[in-house]
């Protein structure tokens, strides 16, 4: 057995570890109600019940509303994340101001804090602001640079561009903000794409923050509805799997179509981190 064959087998095995649960989820979602876990796989015969999907969406509550909420939070987070992290990264890379390096060190140091440590102070802060049960706690932390890692990524990226570029822009009469907007941001397109995808996946799949902050049913996001589903209809496994499939489908699609960007991001993170 050659080394490449061995590697292929290992890759396929590792792939299966991740793919099987996903495929199983889809498989179960297509069985007749009450038979998802007991019957033999559909591939060996049996009726396919697509209507489970319609029932699942119906049971989740106002699906359009949930989708809208989730898209709203996700889009605002992405836009905020891109604007804030690229701007901060630009400042750390290309502007000279007192205390810059110390400040940057501080930002990087916050990467060491696990989310769960800051969760309670953060919650208290938002409660004090009267922002509990609004979307602010879900969006603001990303907009205000809640992802030091992305700031770090942007800084490294801007540092890798020749410094003469910003000097040329300055001599040409560009203010720092203008240089950022007209020269650096367009050049950061690969970074922007990477960060957008990471943020999309993180926000779309986020369960923790919506769980902590959102209580009104009409403000819920898809992940919350999915969890609620579990509590309300704990017997209808087929419908739950159908709902889960619908919720994760965008992530899988996004990942599928942006694999290259995604992998490049992982690689950048690996080589510069």
């Amino acid at each position: 057995m050659s080394a490449t064959t061995g590697r292929r087998i290992a890759l396929v095995a590792a792939g299966l570890v991740f793919a099987v649960p996903l495929l199983y989820m889809i498989e179960v979602s297509l069985h007749a109600e009450g038979h998802g876990l007991s019957e033999s796989p559909l591939a060996l015969g049996g009726a396919v019940h697509f209507e489970n999907y319609a029932r699942a969406l119906e049971r989740m509550g106002d699906f359009r509303r949930l989708l809208f909420n989730t898209v709203l939070v996700t889009v605002l987070s992405i836009v905020g994340q891109l604007a804030c992290c690229s701007l901060a990264g630009f400042a750390f890379a290309r502007l000279e101001f007192r205390g810059r390096d110390g400040l940057f060190l501080l930002v990087v140091a916050t990467m060491m804090l696990p989310d769960h440590v800051t969760a309670i102070p953060r919650f208290l802060l938002f409660r004090w602001m009267g922002a509990v049960d609004t979307y602010y706690p879900l969006i603001l932390p990303t907009v205000l640079g809640g992802a030091p890692f992305f700031i770090f990524l942007f800084r490294q990226y801007f540092l890798s561009l020749p410094s003469e570029l910003s000097e040329a822009a300055r001599v040409d009469g560009a203010s720092p903000l203008r240089a950022y907007w007209s020269v650096f941001l367009p050049l950061a397109r690969p970074m922007l794409a990477t960060v957008a995808i990471f943020t999309f996946l993180a926000t779309w799949n986020d369960f923790w923050a919506p769980l902590i902050y959102l209580s009104s049913p009409e403000k819920r996001t898809l992940t919350l509805a999915l969890a609620g589903f579990h509590q309300t209809y704990n017997t209808a496994v087929e419908h739950m799997m159908a709902a889960a499939t619908v919720v994760v489908a965008p992530c899988i699609l996004v990942y599928f179509f942006t694999q290259r960007v995604f992998l490049r991001g992982v690689r950048v993170a690996a080589t510069k981190g």
Binding site: E164, L165, E167, A168, R170, V171, D172, G173, S182, P186
Partner: protein, 347 residues
Amino acid sequence: MARVELTGISKRYTGGTVALDAVDLEVAAGEFLVLVGPSGCGKSTLLRIVAGLVEASAGDVRFDGESVVGLEAGQRDVAMVFQNYALYPHMSVAKNLAFPLRLAGVARAERRRRVAETAELLGLTELLKRKPAQLSGGQMQRVAVGRAIVRNPRVFLFDEPLSNLDAKLRGEMRGELRALHERLGITTLYVTHDQAEAMTLGSRVCVLESGRILQVGNPLEVFERPAARFVAGFIGSPPMNLVAGVARDGVFEAGTLRLPTAAPAGPLVLGVRPHDIEIGADGSEAEVIDVERLGTSTQLVCALGPVRLTLACEGHVTTERGERLRLRPRPERLHWFDPESGARVPT
């Protein structure tokens, strides 16, 4: 176009490097001044201080008598061409040229007209739609120059603009830059470490070493009467022979070399250009240890005891390695320097 005056300019970088030490320099309006010196002597720093990209630790920069120290780079109305061109990679050539105009708020029609005019002047018209990555080094250089001239600045700053080009292209661009300056007449500071550019481009040359100005003058003057040993060795190709020896009773001695000198007795450095040494019957005896045939001239490296002298002969010479010659530096073409200070010893 503006008259540029630098007075008492010093620059100490954080970390302690003194890049410039009390530099005084005046560039007349419309003049082309070349700043030349070895790597790390502070040329780029000086240029960046004029541009407003780096703040001087001390001293004043004036354009037409008015201090510009408080002005941001963009408000000084200077244009700069960088060694690596620094074109905006995501913009087409046309957009690169138009960028400074857009920032200056020039109206669209006027912008178009001036970009077209500049492109025409530099032969870039065919390339306007391309991105920098689709250009050759020479073309990128031209675009960088175009972006500098398009808004008709008061001062042009060039930081080793030709050093990334091959020798032939460099020669061509030298000619073009000279013609361009003649046509536009904009005050120009041009940094290079290439002494051929220093000799041929500017109306004056300023030689810098370790953050200090050693000499300012027109190229021939600097070539004929170098004010310091460093200048003597730096300007001219092949470089001047510099021989350490001793003056005694009006005679300079080094190895088997004996030359009359008017310099006072004591340690002394002789400077003589390779072209100023003749082969003659009455010279000092020397052995040829290396021959370099360059086609139009031949360089002989000769040993006079421990002393090495390079001489350049016109055309093709049949001399071979190991031959013995008599060398006679032309007495009216000798330069004398103080070995301690490096200053020229007047004779």
